[in-house]
């Protein structure tokens, strides 16, 4: 008889513990901030912009941004992406001020500051062009999960393989999503609107 009573107390105690546990889980989940993922776009870097100024991650935080990683010895994917980026900025109208578009050269050996200035300004002078040492570009790409690789061509030339999408970051430097070249223009425009709203 006594052992049954002990068992009953123990079981009720377990129910209380389980209940308290569930409640605390529920409350902590409710109170936890929304996790926007690690701010990989806040990882430190030092590169040179198209005007020859040294810039760091801090220059691109505080405002949502759209990043494309390509090279100027690229006849179609890169110029197409940049001209579409310009068209997107155009479509955003005055809201384009709330977005920073950036083109990073993943071929800094050939893309010097002059080349970058000329290249980005041809498409849209609102796009910032970044280059720098191969080491610094590589470090940035690695921190942001951006792939690029030099591929030798016949005759000593080379081309670059690289991540093709535009990567979006919020004002705090958290990865927000991508714009894919295969997506309809309006889909990409809506993604940008969501990013800057």
């Amino acid at each position: 008889m006594k052992s049954l009573r002990v068992l009953r107390i123990v079981l009720w105690a377990l129910v209380l513990v389980a209940g308290a546990g569930a409640a605390s889980l529920f409350l902590s989940a409710r109170n936890a901030p929304i996790d926007a993922g690690p701010a990989v776009y806040a990882t430190p870097f030092t590169l040179i912009d198209q005007d020859g100024n040294e810039v760091t991650e801090a220059d691109f935080l505080g405002k949502p941004s759209a990043w494309f990683y390509g090279f100027t010895h690229c006849p179609d994917v890169c110029p197409t992406t940049l001209s579409e980026m310009s068209a997107l900025l155009e479509a955003l109208g005055p809201d384009a001020d709330r977005l920073q578009a950036v083109f990073v050269s993943i071929d800094p050996e050939r893309d010097d500051v002059f080349t970058m200035k000329d290249y980005v300004e041809y498409f849209d002078d609102r796009i910032v062009g970044l280059t720098g040492s191969l080491e610094n570009v590589s470090a940035m790409a690695k921190a942001r999960y951006i792939f690029f690789e030099k591929v030798p061509l016949e005759g000593g030339d080379y081309t670059m393989e690289h991540s093709a999408s535009v990567h979006l970051a919020d004002a705090g430097g958290s990865f927000f999503g991508t714009l894919d070249g295969e997506e309809p223009f309006d889909t990409r425009l809506q993604k940008l609107r969501r990013l800057i709203e």
Partner: protein, 158 residues
């Protein structure tokens, strides 16, 4: 007088504007064009439509131009989010009776190291070299880049 001059000028320009094509016997070459690129660009993308009207298969094996250090044919593809470019060392196959667009599926001619800055309206003389149809001289017209079109991403319109 001004009006007359305009009419004469229009008439003079019209045939070239309407029909920018070249006949290579069995191969009908339509609208070779190059997209204008930024002043510092060392490469220009070229596109052309080829209709093999003959009974035999043919092949575009090379494009030559004195206006560039060299001209290569490539295919750009985006697979698993990575843009890659492979040289079309075998050229472009032109099956008998079929129309092939150098420009579809990421294919393009790459004019490497142009001898000067080419802007919309310029023409770039070149020679298309076919396995069977031989060498045909053409001019690639330089045109403004259309932002709504993506020649490198196939022939879809947006």
């Amino acid at each position: 007088m001004k009006k007359l001059l305009l009419v004469v000028a229009t008439l003079a320009v019209m045939p070239a504007a309407i029909a920018h094509d070249f006949d290579a016997g069995s191969i009908y070459i339509d609208h070779p064009m190059v997209e204008e690129a930024p002043p510092s660009a060392r490469v220009l993308g070229g596109y052309v439509s080829l209709h093999n009207q003959g009974a035999e298969d043919d092949r575009l094996v090379a494009i030559e131009s004195n206006a560039a250090e060299k001209v290569e044919m490539h295919r750009s593809v985006v697979t698993d989010g990575i843009a890659r470019m492979t040289p079309l060392t075998e050229g472009i196959e032109l099956p008998a009776g079929e129309m092939v667009w150098l420009g579809s599926d990421g294919t393009h001619a790459m004019f490497i190291g142009p001898d000067k800055r080419y802007v919309a309206g310029d023409e770039i003389p070149a020679t298309l070299v076919f396995e069977k149809a031989g060498r045909i001289d053409v001019t690639f017209k330089v045109e403004e880049r259309a932002t709504t079109r993506a020649p490198g991403h196939g022939d879809h319109m947006q």
